[in-house]
Amino acid sequence: MSAPGSVAAATQALLTPGRLAAVALSLLVLGVLPLILPPFDTLQVSYGLILGIAALGFNLLLGYTGLLSFGHSAFFGTGAYAAAFLVKYWGVRSMEAFIVAGVLASLLVAALIGAVCVRYTRIFFGILALALSQVLWSLALKLFWVTGGTDGLRVPTPTLLGGAFTQAFGVQTDKTAFLAYRYYYYVLAVFVLATTVMWVIVHSPFGKALQAIRDNEVRAEFVGVQVRRYRYVAFLVSGAFTGLAGVLWVPLNGLTTPEVLYWPFSGRIVFMAVLGGFRTFWGPIVGAFVYNYLEVWAVSATVYWQLVLGVILVALVLTMPTGLVGTAGQLLAWLRRSRRA
């Protein structure tokens, strides 16, 4: 096995026919879902896609940079409130404007929070992010004349792409039709775009530098990767992604309240990534989907669903730390090995 060949083989492994087929199939399935599922279920898939983007952003920090943030509700909430402010104070209805504002606002919040957090050692990073996100939460709660306080702010259905496609899939004024069809495809398109961008980022030289920092920050510094700077940029990108998710979420929910900034929300994002497997690219997305269904079930089953979540999290960490995708991968590899033997 000559070296260039093995290296080339390693590269092709990223985009094998098998993988491309899997991606194409998934897109196909996701594409036809609204046509076969009842609207409620389509909405659940939308939530799954949106949370998937949030978890994807979060995992750039955890899985690829080795930084565990318990404060990502700050970005999700910033995205949501940015859209809500645009509606309340400037009467804007364009989804694209929401997205631009939400992402910019999240970048600003990430720039401020990150400047403080990356100065600290890795182990305190997460709790510092938690604390700063709660500062934001307390502001949203207390400055009620700006943010609507506990009542929150309403966000009516936005216009997508300036009003194009309004005739597709039924009457324009039917909110359910809007959410289950036009908005679903919009979210799906943004999801595909976001996932592609993140995929490129983690496979870029920058992504390799982040992983080096995760594995060995001292050595990373000694090969010329200025650790603090790279962590900061990773934090900005991560915040932008999770903020984008917040923007996409709010028209679906119709309303944003301080709940979305409250720390248990950050905990959900962490849980999703760990459930799916934070050492893989697809893990957090799978985790987001599974979590969404889990939460719907748990909330209807018991009022102590946070307890259920906590128990599952502890069990995961102690017994199945690589999560669903990671464990599935390990099982596959073990099967392959035993079949060869």
Binding site: V116, Y120, I127, A131, K142, L307, L309, L313, V314, V317
Partner: protein
Amino acid sequence: MDTLVIHVLNSLFYASILFLIASGLTLVYGVMRIVNMAHGNLYAVGAYVAAWIVGLAAGSFPPAALFLLLLLGAGAAALAGAILEPTMLRPLYRRPEEYQLLVTFGLLLILEDLLRLVWGPYPLTASAVSDTLGSITILGATYPGYNIFVILIGAGAAAALWAFVYKTRFGVMLRATSQDMRMAAALGVNVKRVYVQAFTIGCFMAGLGGAVVMPISGAVLGMGVEALILAFVVVVIGGLGSLEGALVGAVIVGAVRTVGITYFAEVELALLYLIAAVVLFLRPAGLFGRA
């Protein structure tokens, strides 16, 4: 003048509670290099257990004895710690630190709902305890006697902890383990025992804080995380792993909080963290932290 006295006393009051919580957090970090995300919830456990026991005993015991029962709240938190460390934390020492954070975060979620499960969603109170001490007049200001009691507890705990860490044989082992765990183990220190004992002490301090503040603010859901982010500001300002830092940080945060609550009520938390951010910029290791 008497407003000033009240502000000073309030600052010391907050500082005492904050020191009790933060000292536990910083001790556990200093010795074990672990950040216990559920630390605030052990403070809540202390409050809830104390409230519950006092509630049960209120009729039959004289008010003076109720004070001693508060200690049981701290004891419950310590017991929880003694159980949790070997079962949930010890399996993860060899693994990357993310796992410890994740487990203690899971514990946070569990304890939050466990408290609700056992004691319901409504606050528990025991104002009978704080009422017994009435009011005292100091320098022309009237101030609750119970708050003075809390300040004394805080000061006493600080002194006791300091003596324990610097004057006892166990304290020597504690400090040795925190400076160099492998060397301490090589020299015959039972590191496993030091760890569980340090963790238990940390939880005891948090529980004591909760038990002692409970007669005034009650045992409320969500008090755990609130305490955690306040204790964390203290540790950031004072410095990781430093008990002196926890004391100084507690006083600073107590003072800022008193002023903040009086004049900038909505943004008091933001103000606190702004100060923490400034400290971090000037001295990333905190005032007393080692770099």
